[in-house]
């Protein structure tokens, strides 16, 4: 290593003198000249191609605006909703109805199951759903849009999180009103951590293997965890077991932080992989 540094520093200091001398020697070797008629022929070949460009629309991707204006960004977030087709909204509506039914029936166990077991999985699948359109060529169009791929991607993630929050918030608030602020905070962690973790992991899986493998793995892993937990407790007491952990387990903040970290790391890796496709334009 030292040898390399010595060589480099020696090279830097002597480069000027070397250049003067070696340039003179090397210049003695001249490349053959391209005959003028060949340049003319090349020009004749190229000119029609250049002329044809006048007729073309400007395909040069515009540079994204460097400043993020809040209003524009919020409009971008709203516009991402147009990606979701009726089946997605129907699933959202169904879950919302279930949530309302749970609130009205005052069934705490089912409410917790919905919040901790169902919503994170829905979040992961919805994440993939929000990205599946890019497989159909939308990604390439987004790459050349004025908004810029990173901004669009961030807006989409934000929308997904907003929808998740929209589904979970009534349940959380209801639970909070029943159990107090401290319990609400712990329940929020118990919902948020698996949601972020599962979303991040599915995003990562999607960036590598596409939509179906990522959905399958997410469902398989999450389903296995649920079944494993349900087997340990009696199925009826499963929700109570979760609630006990949420209320009393001292490791909950740590596990929550771990879940968030996993989700953010995998999400960032997936995002990096997906957005790096923009390099095809450079």
């Amino acid at each position: 290593m030292n040898d390399k540094i010595d060589i480099e520093s020696e090279g830097s200091s002597e480069l000027e003198g070397w250049e003067q001398e070696m340039a003179k020697i090397l210049k003695k070797s001249e490349a053959p000249q391209l005959p003028p008629e060949k340049i003319e022929a090349l020009l004749a070949t190229l000119k029609p191609m250049v002329t044809a460009r006048r007729e073309e629309p400007d395909l040069n991707p515009p540079e994204p605006n460097s400043r993020w204006r809040i209003g524009e960004f919020l409009r971008l977030v709203r516009d991402q909703a147009s990606l979701f087709e009726p089946p997605f909204w129907m699933a959202m509506g169904f879950i919302l109805l279930c949530n309302l039914a749970l609130l009205m029936s005052d069934r705490l166990g089912a409410l917790i199951s919905m919040l901790i077991l169902v919503l994170p999985l829905f979040g992961g699948i919805a994440m993939i759903y929000s990205l599946h359109a890019i497989r159909g060529g939308l990604w390439e169009i987004e790459q050349v849009s004025a908004a810029g791929i990173h901004r669009i991607f961030t807006a989409r993630l934000l929308l997904m999180f907003g929808l998740q929050l929209f589904l979970a918030l009534p349940l959380l608030l209801y639970y909070g009103s029943q159990s107090g602020g401290w319990a609400l905070a712990r329940m929020a962690v118990a919902w948020l951590a698996p949601t972020v973790a599962l979303s991040g992991i599915t995003l990562f899986l999607f960036s590598r293997w596409g939509e179906w493998p990522s959905v399958a793995i997410a469902v398989l892993v999450w389903g296995s965890l649920i079944l494993f937990g349900a087997k340990r407790a009696s199925f009826i007491g499963f929700a109570e077991m979760i609630l006990t952990h949420i209320v009393f387990n001292p490791l909950l903040p740590l596990l929550g932080a771990l879940g968030l970290a996993i989700g953010l790391i995998f999400g960032a890796l997936g995002m990096q992989k997906l957005t790096s496709r923009s390099s095809i334009w450079s």
Binding site: M22, K27, V50, R53, R54
Partner: protein
């Protein structure tokens, strides 16, 4: 038009300005041809590649490059290496066998084949010596001395750090000097 910077000319070319094409061609056809000829050692291949470079140029639809000259040489270099790879003419053994220190390079220079002709013109000698350099050193020398790119531009074209460019250049010069000296000694004998 002749005074316009490359980037402006290229922007005009992308909008269909034939005059911009003429100026770019006048500026770069000959230097790029020389670069390609030195990289490939084949005049016909260099001509074909030159045409390919300019076709890529006039059909390019991406973002305008911030530094046209470095970008153009990057495209040219990549096309040349692709062509050489396709022809199976890249001497991988030579490229990898000289990745040692200067002394090792000098030893390699001393072991040049005895078939190196004595009494040939300087031009032939230089050409032959250049061909003996590892690819990454040879392209650095070509870009610096024949294409007169700055060290920063060479770093961009070859996608390495400025320090690596300096190091490669220095090693190449030392190696070239060794080779040329050796041939001079042979001539004197």
């Amino acid at each position: 038009m002749d005074q316009l910077p490359d980037e402006t000319l290229f922007a005009r070319l992308m909008k269909g300005d034939e005059e911009a094409l003429e100026v770019i061609l006048a500026r770069y056809a000959q230097p790029l041809f020389g670069f390609l000829w030195r990289l490939t050692g084949d005049e016909a291949l260099a001509e074909d590649l030159l045409q390919e470079v300019f076709i890529r140029l006039v059909t390019y639809n991406g973002r305008l490059p911030a530094h046209f000259r470095a970008w153009l040489y990057t495209v040219t270099r990549n096309l040349a290496y692709d062509a050489l790879r396709a022809r199976g003419r890249q001497d991988a053994h030579r490229a990898s066998s000289m990745d040692g220190n200067v002394d090792e390079f000098m030893n390699v220079a001393q072991k040049l084949p005895e078939s190196v002709a004595i009494g040939k013109e300087n031009v032939e000698r230089i050409k032959r010596s250049l061909e003996q350099l590892p690819d990454e050193q040879r392209e650095t020398v070509l870009l610096r001395f024949y294409q007169e790119l700055t060290l920063e531009e060479i770093a961009k074209v070859t996608k390495v750090s400025l320090g690596t460019v300096k190091s490669r250049l220095y090693r190449a010069l030392r190696l070239l000097q060794g080779m040329l000296l050796r041939e001079e000694v042979k001539d004197e004998r």
